[in-house]
């Protein structure tokens, strides 16, 4: 990823001023976050380390994909207000290209650790747990704040999602302690996962024009304001898990600008290929 790349304008709306599209773009980001992590976690379905965790990950995915559906429905309404043409949740999920997805890069990374050579390397449950923990610790704060959004549709979705995010945080924190303060091997792998993933959280807190405009309109909340609360949860749990919080400054990923890691296209290929091979199919 180099500085010469620039974000791709979203189709149809590139000629509209940001003041009009910011709310829609912001909701779409939240939807993409939920969908992409839901898709990733669903990869454990049938492959969980123990039966309870297999079921837990499937349940968490179900919540996330449910949140994504609600958010895409809201995005579709907002888009229709701009263009007169509504897109359906399936249009957003299955018929957009990589550069049109605006999820945080953290959420598209594979379950394998940093030393893996390819996207298809072995899954590491420590990576799964650390990511879910970091994400849901933030989403508990973000959904709480968004419950007061001026966008009534988004506020309603946030009020539901917070309850689910709390359970996801319980699960992630629980297992972070169990793995971090577990065996020598589980500790080492969890520490490695934390070292690998924490830098990707910077993206969540870096302000950008879409978030700033949506926040100015009362639709969004500047995520940077939530950082202290998130940091407190992370520090407390990481300490309890006997792990070390790495320094994670400098690196900022760019998924929310549409510039993704090399792993994103593989994820989309798997998620979208069936819908694209059989357009309009129902079952």
């Amino acid at each position: 990823m180099t500085a010469t790349l620039s974000p791709t304008p979203l189709p149809l709306l590139s000629n509209l001023p940001l003041a009009r599209t910011a709310g829609w773009q912001y909701v779409l980001r939240l939807a993409d976050n939920a969908l992409i992590l839901g898709q990733r976690n669903a990869e454990w379905c049938g492959h969980g380390p123990v039966l309870e965790e297999d079921i837990a990950l499937a349940n968490i995915s179900l919540d996330l994909i449910g949140q994504a559906r609600l958010l895409y429905a809201r995005a579709g309404e907002l888009e229709a207000e701009l263009t007169g043409r509504a897109r359906h949740e399936d249009d957003y999920a299955y018929w957009r290209g990589e550069r049109e997805f605006r999820n945080w890069t953290l959420l598209e990374l594979p379950h394998s650790g940093p030393l893996a050579g390819t996207a298809s390397s072995d899954r590491d449950y420590a990576v799964t747990i650390v990511r879910n923990f970091l994400y849901s610790a933030l989403m508990v704060e973000l959904w709480s704040a968004l419950a007061g959004s001026r966008d009534a549709g988004l506020a309603a979705i946030a009020s539901k999602s917070i309850k689910e995010a709390r359970y996801h945080l319980h699960h992630g924190a629980d297992w972070l302690v169990r793995l971090g303060d577990g065996t020598e091997l589980s500790h080492e792998r969890t520490q490695r996962a934390l070292d690998h993933l924490l830098p990707y959280m910077n993206e969540c807190f870096v302000p950008d024009p879409v978030e700033q405009e949506a926040a100015a309109q009362g639709i969004a909340v500047p995520t940077a304001e939530l950082r202290p609360a998130w940091q407190a949860t992370v520090e407390q749990t990481v300490a309890e898990a006997t792990l070390t919080l790495p320094a994670a400054t400098g690196f900022v990923s760019t998924g929310k600008q549409g510039l993704h890691s090399e792993h994103m296209s593989y994820l989309l290929a798997q998620m979208q290929s069936l819908a694209r091979a059989h357009p309009g199919a129902h079952w």
Partner: protein, 234 residues
């Protein structure tokens, strides 16, 4: 990801939970009232697809029955969890029940706000759940649940812990070292006081926060040793 075509999938903050706005849509005549009342009775018999022992009314999924301006019955439902896969089936079941009762045209509206909570499960519904072997949820309003984290007890805390060991070898915390509840064989702490629906013992432990459906956790009774589902406070 196919939305049910009858169900409007976003919140309408006006028409939900405010009886006086609802009244605008209700014809004052007695026939309409009787029809709506009959629809309530019919829908009270529609079971939840995943927990058929309780009705959609018991669970608080069915929020309102009104007569819309065009004369159709308007059924307002709310999803439990965002990803509840049963919503489409519930809508189908509602339509089938209304058709069978010959109640005339109807439409279903799905609302999100206010968000569904397990506090809306009726007293009768809670009894039915318990009789079915599912522990009913603690009240969210009472305890602010589920904000406290369920935690495995860190090993490094063990030496200073004054917890005793029970017959199964599980450490049982006695309130020292910041413990907030019993520590079970899984090492997990219970934050809710869950009573076994089989034997009534309060000596239970969580096995997994996620059970057979999104709305349930898996618990085990330490008295009768039976595992059971716990309907999570939401």
């Amino acid at each position: 990801m196919h939305a049910d075509s009858d169900a409007d999938s976003h919140a309408d903050s006006h028409a939900n939970g405010h009886p006086d706005t609802r009244l605008h849509a209700v014809h004052a005549d007695a026939d309409a009232q009787a029809r709506a009342a009959r629809a309530w009775t019919v829908l009270d018999a529609v079971p939840d697809p995943e927990i058929p022992v309780v009705s959609i009314r018991d669970l608080g999924i069915l929020r309102e029955v009104a007569i819309a301006d065009d004369g159709a019955l308007e059924i307002v439902i709310t999803p439990t969890y965002s990803g509840c896969p049963a919503m489409a089936e519930i809508a189908e079941d509602i339509g089938r029940a209304l058709d069978q009762a010959d109640l005339g045209p109807w439409k279903i509206r799905t609302v999100l706000a206010p968000a569904w909570t397990t506090d809306w499960i009726t007293a009768e519904g809670r009894d039915k759940l318990r009789a079915y072997g599912i522990a009913p949820p603690a009240r969210c309003a009472d305890q602010g649940a589920p904000t406290r984290l369920v935690r495995f007890v860190p090993r490094h805390r063990a030496p200073g812990d004054t917890g005793a060991t029970n017959a199964t070898g599980a450490r049982v915390a006695t309130g020292a070292a910041g413990a907030t509840g019993a520590v079970g064989a899984t090492g997990a702490r219970a934050t809710d006081n869950v009573t076994c629906p089989h034997c009534g013992s309060p000596d239970t432990e969580p096995l997994s926060q996620f059970g057979s459906t999104a709305c349930k956790a898996l618990y085990r009774c330490r008295a009768c040793r039976e595992p059971f589902d716990y309907f999570k406070p939401y």
